[in-house]
Point group: C2
Chain length 431, copies 2
Amino acid sequence: MEDARQTPARGEHPADIADRIQNLPGDEAAEVLRALTPADAARVLAEVEPAAAAQVTGALDDAELQALLAVLPHDRAADIAAELPEARRDAALARLQPADSAQVSRLLSYPEDSVGGIMSDRFIALPVDLTIEEALQHLRKLDPATLKGASYLYVTDAHGRLKGTLTVRDLIFRPPGQPLAEFANPDVKFVRVDDDQETVSRQFAQYHYLALPVLEPDGRLVGVVQADRAVAVAQEEATEDMQLMVGLSGEERIFTTWQQAIPRRLPWLLVNLATAFLAAAVVGLFESTIAQWTALAVFLPIVAGQGGNAGMQTLTVIIRGMALGEISGPSGRKALLKEFILGLLNGLAIGIVVGLVGYWWKGSVLLGVVVSLAMFFNMLAAALSGVLIPFALKTMRIDPALASSIFLTTVTDVAGFFFFLGLAALALQVL
Amino acid sequence: MEDARQTPARGEHPADIADRIQNLPGDEAAEVLRALTPADAARVLAEVEPAAAAQVTGALDDAELQALLAVLPHDRAADIAAELPEARRDAALARLQPADSAQVSRLLSYPEDSVGGIMSDRFIALPVDLTIEEALQHLRKLDPATLKGASYLYVTDAHGRLKGTLTVRDLIFRPPGQPLAEFANPDVKFVRVDDDQETVSRQFAQYHYLALPVLEPDGRLVGVVQADRAVAVAQEEATEDMQLMVGLSGEERIFTTWQQAIPRRLPWLLVNLATAFLAAAVVGLFESTIAQWTALAVFLPIVAGQGGNAGMQTLTVIIRGMALGEISGPSGRKALLKEFILGLLNGLAIGIVVGLVGYWWKGSVLLGVVVSLAMFFNMLAAALSGVLIPFALKTMRIDPALASSIFLTTVTDVAGFFFFLGLAALALQVL
């Protein structure tokens, strides 16, 4: 097989065209789509990041948009529709076939970060009372698109409730007269339509499935999530966590324009500013101490910054551990103990180094001792807050990643300044 | 279907037992494994995080370890073996069947973050000159474990070179006498055995495959990566990036002990300390200015900290964009322009707010103007370095995430202190 026989060589892959047009202005993106056949254009649109969908389709007229949505799988049509302005979305949905429109609307009704928001409604359900031969006849009548990429076949009862799974291979290697009920595997792992999408990537990573069926609370099979979708969800969830930690929206991408980015970034910068003023106020309390001993100003940022960095290490391990489902009850306490020990030992090491440099640089034993102690205490504060902040956010049912680095550096700044300047003031008073 | 019929209810899932024992000391983990049948124990070991493998198997004797490795799929056996002390690994491999030992050793020879390091050698290759009937006979003779989870069947020539793919469904719905060569799909996306594993999660997320064949440079089919593995790889890569950014090893987990964590965290804390002293040296240059005007010390951490936070927002977007493959040539320049504009506007907004608060707090127009300008310039420096640092690391063929937050805060601290104290010194001199 030569590279020249790969799909991309016969024309750009829809996913690659999608990457390209989501970086273009709406009118240029529309030109690219119009130059393709409707089926190809729909394939491209299916691959566009939902966040870029409104922009990419912005310059298409209603009929063009509807023609594309009509050939998309329902779940992709819903993903795109979810990002459109409301009037546009309603107009486009109204033009679809009633059955398609109803199904897309139903998928739209699930929160976008729930399992319902990412599942596909394209799956194969076989009545539990069929024989293998009848099941094969049933399969031959299906749209080939439905068969494509179906990792499992699902067996359901008269109410549409999931009763078991089987594979196409099962149908080949068994006698044609055997009823499905006899060999369908009833031990099925599933997810609920209202579960969080994070659950899904965890389940896939943990149990290695190629597909998971999605059930309503009453047990009815309503969709399926394939592993390939779970890869994208895992990436999305990780991106969201990384972004939330530093005060981003969780949805910013390279192609997000500055006009879209500013209203999302600036508010968190203002929150950060408010917390910075809080820390500055602590410094303000000790302004007369600094006036007496200006060398303190030189060491201030070291004590605070070093604490912030150590705390970020702890925070990152904890938040990622929570996202991957590695942290449960006892391991939470164990993590706190581990980070406390690390804070103690790193604090001792860094405290001694900072103290020695302080003494050597300014020739003052007192400065060395004060900065050393403050550094040690701030490293401990950093370790503890790196664990406690995400746990506190989680307890309040807030995403543990949300702006956690901003909260953390508030603690390490305030505590660092207070320990350092407080100890210095005390030393000046006593000596 | 009721929950009581789910697999976990009939006994804990191997993956869940694995989670549990990787938090236990070696001797307790060994007890848990010994209480299981060898087949079940192997299933559990297959689910243990490679990073915890040495600990989990630490208290097993060589015969016990060998018995487990013998029943594991080769790729999982290689993952575990890679983490064992060398003498132990060699002893265990020597005890395997020669064919298994050779295959595990071959998988071990690939770097662990390469495609070879994550692929499975369990795939179905059918000679291209078979008919459908012959192919079905071939399949019936195979170990059922090989068939399980195989999303595609691969067609190869006499040299083992990949010629195309087909699915089990193709074999059912076509005439038994048809040769495979007539309908196997020759347009196959593949990955190379020496590609980086990041390539794989990108390919899965981008093109939605259930499995990708892995080829040697000469076109021979040597393995396969399934989408379920790609989910775990995507999570692993994201964890690594998040950790590298803040100076962690990329491999730290909740169950990593403090003894393992300290030699990995402390060096980066010391690097951070060195850069903090660099920033402190800038403050040192202006000690006499601070002695004249101690209010400067109060605003110092605001200018630096706020720059650091804004820079982290930029850095996070860029690094994640690089990891997801969203950044190529022109979009890099576009990203730089976008961040420059954001730095300009956020800098203007934050600069004005900080200036006003400075004036209001200390009653000094001069302080307000100085802090406002310094803030503005530092926000620009933050935006530019948030883009340029990862690009510079990438150009030097270093992971763009590596310690990038440490480099970034060095820039924002040094630049922030220099702008603020430099402007203040200048103002004091002129006025």
